[in-house]
Subunit: 558 residues, 2 copies
């Protein structure tokens, strides 16, 4: 019998990739990547004339289809795999990344008349222009004593479904009316492959305020927000939600034409990108916190119990693995942070030094920063360049650095930004523990975890915990592929449960990071200072960051 | 009758210059500059073998004489002026810049036996190795309830006379014993020109803890510091102090030989460099605050009343102009701030853009920053990259910037740093006003004031005051020359009072900066936020900056 494969299709923020994986071993044969032609649209629409206000972040659904085709055909052709031998496909996607579609699931932005309407496009997860609707939801929920926010750390994020939909109904009611529904891009891709709308519990639970027992927020509540929203769920969403690990359907003719996959290939219910990494990192039990570290970091934790933890972004039954309560927390700015820094704050002399030494700038900064002792720079930062996702759940918070002197060097700032993200992680770990959710181990996946030993050691020193590393460069895509194998089922050459897939296909490195007691001692002092500033600026001691943002907005639109 | 001239001899940190000025108009004929051959000695003595510890900064008095000769002869020869037509000379000098001399006013370092003794040389103003003696003075003053520190914002600086002398008596008692006196280099140059020791109220008041009514700190206090210091004033200093505007004497044969000036030429009592700019900027009345803006900013203000203003660096009767109380304040990091920024934080792409446009980086950043609206960046900084000199008087404070996001651009940070220095100035202005010292107008001199219209407009918008600009590239030397004209007196072709000299010789540009009401409105909001952070981090709300510095020191020296 031929070897059987599964494919994980991983939709990131800038590009999409397909990972080809051997079902029986989890061996990663190889991948194929394609960047989105329009990337992230933050300033202007594809018409090149319609300007976008600050805090907007859109994508073009055309890019998703183009990339789907490119990467699936690409990976099969590159590795010369027969589509017959692909047993299943899993799709993961950023979230909440939603788009309005018509009754045929065609995006409204494909229509000529809506090409210059920003609300007709995909609102990417990091679209932050719906904050005032999130504020309204939060106020109204408090006023009415609603309990659902307690599942989300007490606060709804502006990144989520309902604030984004509210922005549409208020700022472009014609789009709201015209839309047959609003759908997560991940669910939309599954529809494109299978012709079936099988919405995922992962998207609905973490981003759509859906709860397995209680459903969405009540009609009464939605009506109180806006009379037009009373029948939002019936009219524009769906109550038909499927747990992770389920099969969504099979590739149909449209899907075959689009991807080169064979009709009948199993397709899994879609999953949020980060969440897919959990099985890939070998986690199928409670207490192991996985950090998926990339442009931002997502923290995933399984538990048998549903405990309400303040400021933790979400807990969803079957939301990560079936049979567990999946907890999610997040840090909004990790890799992005360092990307911003090297693009904006690194002097020409360092770039020159890179050229002379044949190093990239991150390597050079890491080399210099790793020579510093803990605390030596005198710098301390708050890692809120992209707001705070957990445990303050406040997109209006901004980045801060202090301790600067005339002898402060770029590598010192670079290190301080890394340390700030580690303190942010420690705040999350401490919050779980203080609220009675067990954490017995730290795991990490993603590009940073794989490549940046300097940074991982800092995380270990700061948290005073061992950190185990997922031994895959593509943990997310691997996890998606595993869900694809489970969608196929044993009979068709896959697995019947995700636990079996974890047992056979997951990967963890033998070596792991151990904390240095001396470093931890100094970091504990620094962390205490971080915590004080975190609470002062983040919990109402001084709301200067919000007022600066108000002034900024007023200045731009006066 | 031939035109009459006066000369201002301006001793800076790296070089000395002579400025030739027409007495009747203040027209600057031209100048002649000479760098000090030994520059600033921070690592080794001229013997090339005696190493200096960190924080030392010495100069060689030989350089001062060499330059005096070079620049006075040079300027007269270059502009073909007959020494007969020079009516008077004024000298300004950095301070506290002191040296030990013998009974003939010969520097001890000229003696063969002391050539390798660092304490025999000039301790330059920025010699910072006497900090522990300054700490002792501050502790002892608090213990004894001394009132003199209140004239200096509550704290004595390590840069001043008595800490520097204490360093000598402790580390080189043989030099202390051998010295006939310790003298400010400015007073010493006056002696060299005239053969008369006529110490200046400016040096004695701002740097020597001397007060016109109360004299120096008491013998009891000095004895408490160190028994050997009880008779410091009688033995090694002088109580014979002269107000600015007085004639110190006339050029004698030695002076004539040294400088080419004619015997009998009037020489003014010396003045601290920054202070000399006040008359040059047309200020001869109370209420006009002059900012001398360079790497750091000095603020000079005249008042008829002696009011103790918390955190203001010094107030001295006759210390700036005779008949007034002269107040001095300071910001430790202005031009230095932007220098640090462009050297450490500006990306290669901007340097490339500079090359393409043939601009320097400051010009490019200014061009970009000037397109921003007030408040548009959302950034706010505390300008403490070099500590805070006024009104918090705390070298351990450090720089802070907040409001950073992933779209923050270098020009936004650049502008925020400029704005932060403007807020720092407003804090000083407000502190004067709140304590009853009148401020009716703002004046500015120095390189930044002359050249940087963008920055000056921000200062005007932030303070909501007109700002007048001194119309001289050499305001300090011009002021010295004016004191020279006053030393000559009207009978000898000069002026009888500095007021008359100001009336005829000073220079203020016709155009001045006016605040924009709309900009001020937004800046007032931002300033209120600055003030809250200023007090929170600077007045004990959260001493995190000091703790970070402690951790930094512990880390470096563990």
């Amino acid at each position: 019998m031929n070897k059987k494969y599964c494919i994980g299709i991983d939709y990131g923020t800038q590009s999409c990739r397909a990972l080809l994986v051997e079902v029986d071993t989890g061996y990663e044969v190889g991948d194929y990547e394609a960047p989105y032609p329009h990337a992230v649209m933050e300033e202007v629409l594809p018409d090149k004339t319609t300007k976008l206000p600050p805090d907007w972040a859109l994508q073009h659904p055309e890019d998703y289809l183009y990339c789907l085709s490119t990467v699936t055909k690409g990976v099969m052709s590159k590795y010369q795999v027969n589509p017959e031998d692909i047993v299943g496909v899993g799709v993961d996607f950023t979230a909440c990344t939603i788009l309005p579609v018509d009754e045929n699931y065609e995006p409204l932005c494909f229509q000529e008349k809506y090409k210059s309407n920003p609300h007709a496009y995909v609102k990417l997860w990091k679209h932050h222009a719906a904050q005032k609707y999130a504020d309204l939801i939060n106020e109204e929920a408090i006023k009415r004593g609603e309990t659902f926010p307690r599942l989300y750390g007490g606060k709804i994020s502006s990144e989520w479904l309902i604030p984004k939909v509210m922005q549409v109904i208020n700022e472009a009611p014609e789009i709201y009316d015209e839309a047959a529904c609003f759908i997560e891009a991940g669910d939309w891709i599954v529809y494109k492959l299978t012709g079936e709308e099988k919405r995922s519990s992962c998207f609905a639970g973490y981003k759509g305020l859906w709860h397995k027992q209680n459903g969405y927020p009540s009609k009464d509540f939605l009506k109180a927000l806006d009379a037009r929203l009373e029948s939002l769920v019936d009219d524009k969403l769906s109550n038909d939600i499927y747990p992770l690990g389920d099969k969504a359907g099979e590739v149909n003719t449209v899907g075959e034409e689009l991807t080169g996959l064979k009709q009948g290939t199993a397709v899994a219910v879609a999953v949020i990108d980060a969440h897919a990494a959990v099985p890939a990192a070998g986690i199928a039990e409670e207490g192991k916190l996985l950090m998926i570290m990339g442009t931002s970091t997502c923290h995933m934790l399984l538990s048998k119990e549903e405990v309400l933890v303040p400021g933790i972004a979400g807990l969803v039954e079957d939301g990560i693995l079936p049979g567990f309560i999946g907890y999610e927390a997040g840090q909004a700015c990790v890799g992005d942070h360092f990307g911003w820094f090297v693009n904006n704050c690194v002097p020409e002399s360092y770039i020159q030094e890179c050229k002379e030494k044949g190093m990239n700038i991150h390597a050079l900064l890491t080399e210099k920063a790793s020579k510093l002792k803990v605390g030596e720079s005198g710098l301390l930062a708050l890692d809120w360049w992209n707001g705070n996702r957990s445990v303050l759940v406040d997109a209006d918070l901004t980045g801060l650095i202090m301790g600067c002197t005339l002898t402060t060097k770029p590598e010192e700032i670079y290190r301080a930004l890394i340390e700030a993200t580690a303190y942010g992680t420690k705040i999350i770990v401490d919050t779980f523990k203080e609220n009675g959710v067990k954490i017995t181990g730290l795991y990490a996946a993603g590009g940073i975890a794989q490549k940046n030993a300097f940074m991982m050691q800092i995380y270990s020193d700061v948290t005073n915990m061992d950190i185990h590393i997922c031994d895959s460069d593509q943990a997310v895509a691997l996890g998606s592929a595993m869900f694809g194998a489970v969608a196929a089922g044993e009979e068709k050459g896959g697995y019947d449960t995700i636990m079996e897939a974890v047992d056979k296909m997951s990967k963890v490195k033998e070596d792991y990071y151990c904390p240095s007691p001396e470093n931890h001692k100094v970091y504990q002092e620094l962390f205490n200072e971080y915590k004080t500033l975190h609470d002062y600026f983040g919990r109402g001691g001084n709301d200067v960051m919000k007022r600066l943002k108000d002034i900024k907005l007023a200045s731009r639109y006066e």
